[in-house]
């Protein structure tokens, strides 16, 4: 019996030693969790700021693109006016010269008519003017299309913003779980609990993709087509 008491005493001693050794370890674990939870920077806030900054910059770019497009539209209209006035002027010159032919100076004018026409129209040569106007119109159209393509490419901001919000929400969730783990720790409850439900605070699509590959749209088009076919046959 004394042997049993002695053994039990040893066991108790070992248990107490274990507790003495474990408690500091648990304290370290607790501190580590607290440290980690606090150290994860306000990631969701940071990512929100990134989204806001990129949205702000994108809108600025869109403002510029719109402004430049408007300028080119005005230039196109002005070009049309210039074109019309050039043709009007040519018409007037021909008519004036024709009238001159019927005057007493007509004979002289007739001799110099062709020369006069050449001189005047050398500045307003039909084919040169046409070519120049055409090239300028093409330049305006191409540039406006390029501006539109810039605007379209800026959809990347919306798409990546949604991805960022999704990541921010996940980081938020991790932080919440760490803090809850801390609370359980402090309360001494080492019980396996289910993870808290992940509740996003903003709308987003974490699967949003910025890709110009046509497959996604083609796939959607096919589904829409099939759906409409079925509806039509109902």
């Amino acid at each position: 019996m004394s042997m049993n008491i002695h053994n039990e005493g040893e066991i108790m001693k070992d248990l107490l030693q274990l507790l003495r050794d474990t408690i500091p370890l648990l304290e370290n674990v607790r501190n580590s969790i607290q440290d980690s939870a606090g150290r994860i920077p306000k990631a969701s806030d940071q990512l929100s700021k990134v989204s806001e900054a990129t949205e702000s910059a994108t809108v600025e770019i869109l403002d510029l693109v719109e402004e430049m497009t408007n300028r080119f539209t005005k230039a196109e209209e002005r070009l049309k006016e210039v074109k019309a006035s050039i043709f009007e002027m040519r018409k007037n010159v021909r008519e004036s010269l024709s009238i001159l032919l019927s005057t007493p100076y007509g004979t002289l004018a007739k001799e110099r008519y062709e020369e006069l026409i050449q001189i005047v129209f050398s500045y307003y040569n039909d084919s040169m003017a046409e070519q120049l106007l055409k090239e300028t119109e093409t330049l305006f159209t191409t540039t406006k299309n390029d501006y539109m393509n810039i605007a379209i490419a800026l959809q990347v901001q919306d798409i990546t913003a949604q991805q960022l919000v999704g990541v921010a929400e996940i980081i938020n969730s991790i932080q919440q779980q760490l803090w809850q783990a801390l609370q359980r720790f402090d309360q001494g409850m080492f019980v396996e609990e289910e993870d808290p439900a992940f509740t996003p605070t903003k709308t987003y699509d974490i699967n949003a993709q910025y890709t110009k590959a046509p497959e996604r749209q083609l796939s959607a088009d096919e589904i829409v087509r099939q759906w409409q076919e079925v509806e039509k046959n109902k």
């Binding site: 949205e55 800026l154 959809q155 959607a220």
Partner: protein, 128 residues
Amino acid sequence: MEMKFLVDDDSLTMRRIVVNALKSLGYEQVVEASDGKEAITKLTTEGSTFVITDWNMPEMNGLDLSRWLRSNAQYENIPILMITTRGNKDDVIEAMKARVNNYIVKPFTPQGLKEKIEQILKTVEVKA
């Protein structure tokens, strides 16, 4: 009758891009909203003959907006085009069940937008 578009998206960037694309296609009359609830308010106060809506939006998403419009006699035939990042088959089917007229996966192109609008207008009687 001249078309008047309602562009509904919680992203300011996307609204600007869609509006610019519409203007490049010759559609000048455009109203904007940032979620489904605001879209309904704008429809009531400013009117529209064509709705272009995103899916993911706060307050009321594009799907719920479509369902609301289809359940309302005044708007049951209004054309609805959804422009969204969601490209899964299930998403498209869900949108069609909510009776949107057509579907564009972001990023979109002005040509793609033009085609979808024209397709819808061919099949839908436009009411103010």
